[in-house]
């Protein structure tokens, strides 16, 4: 495993632990924690804080029958949800978002491909595949963007990002990530706003390509 140098900022980890991050960001953070022991430790420390809040909450009397109900149900059969394991470069939470199947890549031109995992009112999250030396199409956006490298690496104005590294970019950053030499760069990109590409594809085509 290569050394991770770009981690999840603490406020994002706290919000993730508390369950208040929009779904696309929660996926990127869950995937990073799956690869990073350091952020896992911080995340679990936030859970301990949450546990302290729970412990010190004032108690409310529960109905007389609740305990008996729960005890009766202990051995009731349940539908267990599938657990998704890491597969290749994709951590478990990403495999879950892929429903356990390999990504379905769509070409964006110049060898760049994407696979949209979700696209909704709380933002979008997709996988990007960028051949060495190719730029991720330059984009500006109105919100926050988290990019997690899963294979290869990319560099932009702010530094170099290898496997496991998470880049956090807000609207103030107009960045142009370029995939480094070596294996094609695969990354998970999450935003809380629709992406708008400034180059490569005219705006008019956006609804057609869902980008």
């Amino acid at each position: 495993m290569t050394t991770i140098t770009h981690h999840v900022p603490d406020a994002l980890l706290a919000a993730y632990a508390a369950g208040s991050l929009p779904q696309p960001f929660a996926l990127a953070v869950a995937a990073h924690i799956s690869l990073c022991l350091d952020c896992r430790a911080t995340y679990e420390a936030h859970l301990a804080s949450g546990g302290a809040v729970l412990e010190t909450s004032s108690a409310e009397v529960v109905s007389a029958g609740l305990k008996a109900n729960v005890l009766d149900l202990l051995d009731a059969p349940i539908d267990s949800k599938p657990v998704y394991q890491r597969s290749g470069v994709y951590p478990g939470p990403v495999m879950e978002a892929l429903n356990g199947k390999p990504p379905r890549w769509k070409s964006l031109g110049l060898g760049v491909r994407q696979s949209i995992l979700s696209d909704g009112t709380d933002g979008s999250v997709r996988l990007l595949y960028i051949p060495p030396g190719r730029a991720v199409p330059d984009h500006s956006h109105s919100g926050l963007e988290l990019t997690l490298v899963l294979q290869g690496s990319f560099s932009d104005e702010t530094g170099r990002f290898g496997v496991g590294d998470l880049e956090v970019a807000d609207q103030a950053v107009e960045h142009t990530p370029v995939a480094d030499a070596g294996a094609p760069c695969i990354c998970l990109a999450a935003t809380d706003a629709p992406l708008r590409f400034n180059s490569l594809l005219p705006r008019l085509l956006q609804p057609l390509f869902r980008i």
Binding site: L37, S49, T56, V62
Partner: protein
């Protein structure tokens, strides 16, 4: 039930008994401690009494079913139950599943390390004390954050609880687990 080392708290011991021995009396003890606190915690977000009890029921059932994921060398029972509770609330209120990190898995051969368990308990106790010592408005902010009522932009790490020492302790537990899992493979 195996003899627990003397100083481990009765809640941790009960959770270990549920995990290792499927001990129903120990589970009942956990229910008595946590159910009223859970109901209080859930109702703070504005959930009504009836729905809060439904969530309490689901959370306590998950505690029983997923007991094998409880690792006292990394988490106190309250931290583990907090996570289950927030996931359940998101599931019920937002109708979505929060993406969770991969489980690290557990090492069935490992002897519990009482000193590590005690150290985690001690750090968690200090965190609770630190929460109690905060000024009321600071404390309210922290509580709001962990109730899921603040966005990440609103969470200021400046007013947060001191997490450095508990984080290093959890990290030791994680490294030990990772090392043991490697040896198993």
């Amino acid at each position: 039930m195996k003899q627990s080392p003397p100083q481990i708290s009765s809640l941790t011991a009960a959770m270990i008994a549920v995990r290792n021995d499927r001990d129903r009396d120990a589970f009942a003890q956990l229910f008595d401690h946590f159910a009223p606190r859970l109901k209080g915690f859930i109702m703070r977000s504005g959930t009504g009494s009836g729905q809060a009890e439904e969530i309490v029921q689901e959370v306590m059932l998950t505690v029983w079913r997923k007991a094998d994921q409880f690792d006292p060398e990394r988490a106190q029972v309250s931290a583990w139950i907090y996570q289950i509770t927030r996931n359940r609330q998101i599931d019920v209120i937002r109708k979505e599943n929060k993406p969770l990190p991969e489980e690290l898995g557990e090492d069935p051969s490992a002897e519990p390390d009482a000193s590590q368990i005690l150290a985690v308990e001690q750090e968690a106790g200090q965190l609770k004390n630190a929460l109690g010592r905060l000024k009321p408005d600071q404390r309210e902010m922290i509580e709001k954050a962990y109730l899921g009522e603040l966005t990440h932009q609103e969470i200021s790490t400046q007013t947060g609880l001191p997490l450095g020492t508990i984080k290093s302790r959890i990290r030791l537990g994680l490294e030990k687990l990772r090392h043991e899992l490697k040896e198993l493979r």
